[in-house]
């Protein structure tokens, strides 16, 4: 009973805001008779999500595969690069400034270039741009996690005659997990952005970004909005599933167990 109570207390306010927001949107569109091309009513968008579900889902699934492919490639390379950088400090001093700077530049601006290099209509160009987007946050975060181990934690392992490999496996790697997951969560968001915006610069017919642009071009705003809503839902699900894996693998972490008791 207490758990139900706490659950309601934590989630009810957010739920109220969601329902009120949608109701306000619906009311404003109907009350002021706003034109469909400016802003369709939520009910119209939901209707379109249902009637055009076949086309919408196949478009969304296509683009999600681009995002997922790039995410897997970019995050894997980022993780491997972090291990290399954490192992050889000189590489870290040489490359880290650029990796951090990469977080401040709009990599997505390179999408037309990758289209040019790897083909406009194929998946490869989108996978590449998504991979580049995902690479940096994962690499920077993981490197920090692998290297931000207290000196005494390493000294303790050395006092047990542990080898570098053992120290890596038993201390550095677990220490880096919270950092790795925060990088992965950022990467899920960037992956969806990268795939859809990559499509905007030209992509395979039937990709979600391509379709959204086409719908806007032919004044099919209900469809365009439905596509955007679907992309958002997929983005949230993507993020949520990584967050779930984080919870399952890091049950020990204070932030997940509800903080340090004081």
């Amino acid at each position: 009973m207490n758990r139900v109570h706490r659950f309601v207390g934590e989630w009810l306010p957010a739920l109220v805001v969601l329902v009120a927001g949608i109701a306000l949107w619906e009311g404003v569109v109907r009350g002021f008779d706003i034109q469909n091309f400016l802003l369709p009513a939520p009910s119209d968008i939901v209707g379109t999500l249902w009637t055009d579900r076949g086309q919408l889902w196949s478009a969304a699934f296509f683009t999600f595969r681009e995002a997922l492919g790039g995410f897997v490639v970019g995050c894997s390379l980022g993780f491997v690069a972090a291990i290399v950088l954490a192992r050889w400090r000189v590489l870290q001093t040489a490359f880290m400034p650029y990796a951090i700077a990469a977080g401040a530049i709009p990599i997505i601006a390179f999408a037309p270039i990758t289209n040019n290099w790897f083909g406009v209509t194929g998946m490869t160009s989108k996978i590449v741009i998504v991979a580049v987007l995902c690479f940096f946050p994962v690499m920077v975060n993981t490197t920090r996690g692998l290297t931000s181990v207290p000196a005494s934690a390493i000294e303790l392992m050395r006092s047990y005659a542990a080898t570098e490999v053992t120290i890596f496996r038993r201390v550095r790697l677990p220490n880096s997990l919270p950092f790795l997951f925060s990088g992965l969560k950022v990467a899920t968001v960037l992956a969806m952005i990268g795939a859809i915006v990559g499509d905007y610069f030209g992509g395979a017919p039937g990709a979600l970004g391509v379709e959204i642009r086409r719908w806007v071009g032919i004044f099919a705003f209900d469809q365009a909005w439905a596509g955007i809503v679907l992309a958002s839902v997929l983005g949230i699900l993507f993020y949520g599933s990584v967050a779930l894996v984080e919870r399952l693998t890091m049950g020990w972490h204070p932030s997940i167990r509800g903080g340090r008791p004081e």
Binding site: A151, S152, S159, L177
Partner: protein
Amino acid sequence: MNTRDAVVSLRNVTKSFGAGGVTALQSIDLDVAPGEFISLIGPSGCGKSTLLRIVGNLVEPTSGEVVVNGKSARQARLDRDYGIVFQDAVLYDWRTVAKNISLPLELAGWDGARRKARVQEMLELVELHGFGEHHPWQLSGGMQQRVSIARALSFSPALLLMDEPFGALDEMTRERLNAELLRIWERSGSTIVFVTHSISEATFLSTRVVVMSPRPGRIAALVDIDLPQPRNADTREEPRFFELVTEVRDRLREGGLDEESTAPGEGELIVAEETP
């Protein structure tokens, strides 16, 4: 004392950081006999933590000879001849209390059943029975430090190195853990080298206090603590205890600096290492 019988034997040990840089330790000679409880006391910058790390082969001396358990410090480390406890408990958050204690046993290749039995034994020794499945951050600072001590003793090393283990704890907890440490020391029969900046702690715990002075770090005096064993809360109220505290304080003054200038919790080693 014969060097071969000593658990720790230091001959003319010198440590300087950087090329022609700060001399952290100069010409240290010291023998620690089996079963001794020896404290290194001195103000910040006297190199007492560095000296402890040299014994543990975590820091290489610039010159001099270090013999631990009759072999080189490096060989002693590789043979896991000592356990170490830091000021910070250094418990791994991703491991339960029991798994933290069994870490050195895992590294030494003990099988599961043997590890489990030893962990139970250790939890009882430090009076944390029933906390094995807790995570470190669920425990108070004093309890965490007890886990750290249990871990250091789990593989029954002949030597226990302690670097200001109770420095971050409040006075009440510290005095309770002091008494507990003496009980553990008596039961385990191990030799302890203990770094502290507290005069009363050093006097209460030790069989011998090594008074160090700074810049460069060297041994200023050795004070034998002839208080009877076993010691308890009453020991702290005996006139002889106060005499010895006064003597250690006087030796510290003669060494250059008195206790007021010994700032607690300063990482001398880290500061020294950052000096180019």
